[in-house]
Amino acid sequence: MSFVSILVEAGEVILITPGQGRFRQSMLWLHTWTGIVFAIVLYFIFITGSIGYFQNEITYWMEPETPLNDKSVEQKDLLNVAEQRLKQVAADSTEWWVDFPIGRQYSLMISWLENSINQDGSNEEIWHEEILDYDTGKPVNVRDTGGGATLYAMHYSLHYLPNIVAYWLVSFCSMFMFVGLITGIIIHKQIFKDFFTFRSAKKQHSWRDLHTVLSVLPLPFHLMMTYSGLLFFVTMSMPSIIGASYGFGDENLDRYYDDVYLEDIVQQDAAGIKATSIDFSDIFSDITKHIGSNNIDYIGIENRGDINAYIEVSKSGYDGLSDSETYIFHGVTGQFQSVVVSNESTSMAKAFYDTLFVLHEGKFSDYSVRWLYFISGLMGAGMIASGMILWATKRRERSNKKGISHQGLINVERLNIGIIVGLPTSIAIYFWLNRLLPKNFEARSDWEINGLFFTWSLLLVYPFLASFKYNTKQIWTHQLMVASLVYGLLPLINYFTTNVHLGITLSNGHWVLAGFDLFMLLCSFVFGLCAVKLSNSPPVVATYNSAIKLNKHEKPLNKIVSKA
């Protein structure tokens, strides 16, 4: 009898359509608890990831010494300038590279390899980089900064942790992000009926509606990002797949990579026979015949000074979703040798991986699609933030009715403020420090990031200390006002410390730099608006009184009562 009833129960669970009954409830439990536990890391990942789409532009802003040169200069002249300088400083070098200010690159940069022999006879390779001012041909001393690249790197390798530890943590959290997405879809009963719904006035439903809107609308984006993000770590998180065919360990992993990744550029080793290398300028007209004018992304020569020297010219732009072609010229004769189309896929699996990789990073995107990625990323961060607030709000309402509240809920409420508002504020402080730290301070790039995390830790602790005097709503308002102030003052600090402030960039049409300052002002406005609206909203129902109101027969429980 009981066996039959167990079967019936099991059948119920299996056969009942997802969306009803215990399946939905357990999915709701999973969604709620994996959501709140992993929220801080996932919020951090979403914010730094969204920032990463504009890392070139952020780095450009953070290196204000980069010359604001005339964009209409021909690449032929730029190449001449670069080559003059290279001949000056790197005459004996075996590798020269010139990056042109095209597309999302904002400076003319040369780099070269210096081979030196150490005292113990070992070979040492040092890379040198210089940003050139193309009016004078002289290098510009740009301040040492992490730039946008460091912010972006934190997206997958966090900071202060060894890389492998960070990758495992991020991969682990991404898995739960994926769980959160799938469970979220399952529990959202009315995904089409409520597609446009956002009940702003109804207190109880508003946070849930906001959370739903911010999840459902960018759902294709979220699913693609999370799945592709997980795939990035697959060789680390699922090593047995490769291990079963190739064996474990680094050597076997290298064999696997050799098989999967075609050698993009034919690597010719130096033959050891000296030969004078041809100048870039000499083959420039030949290059133009192949790729058109002003189309070079970068140009470089390898094995320079040897008979096996070869010149690589990369065409700017994208061919579909992958990089555009690279043209190879002989380094001594200047003869055109071959075209290499990068990222050719060896197999369907690799094509699938490559497609997801390119989609995740959005490398192909010009400004308009990049903004769409950025906005969707911020909506994802908002999804997590609204989820955190929803978690706390729901439990606060329940505990108000019961008259008691757990310390865990209080902690989450206070942590929420520090996480959701504290992280953007600390990122703004990172930009502050970029302007305020002395230019010749050696460890300035390290201390810019240290400042970010130090500020964030202060902002995480502040709500706990301030709760002795202020309630939760007031602390939210405090932090929002601080965020608004910190973002709003940034263009002003820019004005006082550099000469690429809004006054100059707007009037000269340097839209990328102006756009950064304007976006800071927009952030300031949004935070300020939130702060004002929050402080003007009707006061939270006096929970203190209702919290301590007990029925006559109840003894006061020895639990902590919140003042919020």
């Binding site: 446009f196 956002f198 009940r199 809107v213 609308l217 995107s365 308009s368 699609v369 769409l372 909506m379």
Partner: protein, 125 residues
């Protein structure tokens, strides 16, 4: 020309929202809610226009880029619509009419300009 797919996506979702009673009431508060058949027609046309907008994105930007742009624009336009529905539902009909007009206008102008631009130098569309 590049805005037409964006307008089309917006219009598609407005049509779909009109097929839902709750939103029909928000957009046309004075009218009677149409019958189920008419609501179904709204939804059908909404999806057809949505597929049209996917087609436009792909035909202008290519398959890969077109699909990516479509999903990105979808996110953005529906976000704006959600906000409009909550705070300014009356603006929606006005904005939709403007978009319809603009789409037709831009389309006609761009094709008329193309017709006139044979050998003479013309402004790029």
């Amino acid at each position: 020309m590049t805005f037409i797919p964006l307008f089309t996506t917006f219009l598609a979702f407005i049509l779909i929202s009109l097929s839902m009673k709750r939103h029909f009431r928000q957009l046309y508060p004075m009218r009677k809610i149409p019958s189920l058949q008419h609501l179904f027609l709204f939804r059908l046309f909404g999806y057809l226009v949505l597929f049209l907008s996917i087609f436009l994105f792909i035909s202008i930007q290519g398959l890969g880029l077109g699909l990516v742009s479509f999903f990105g624009v979808l996110t953005l336009t529906v976000l704006i619509q959600v906000l409009l529905f909550s705070y300014r539902p009356k603006w929606i009909i006005v904005i939709s009419s403007v978009f319809v007009f603009l789409s037709i206008y831009i389309f006609i102008v761009s094709h008329v300009v193309v017709l006139h631009c044979d050998n003479k130098s013309c402004i790029g569309v």
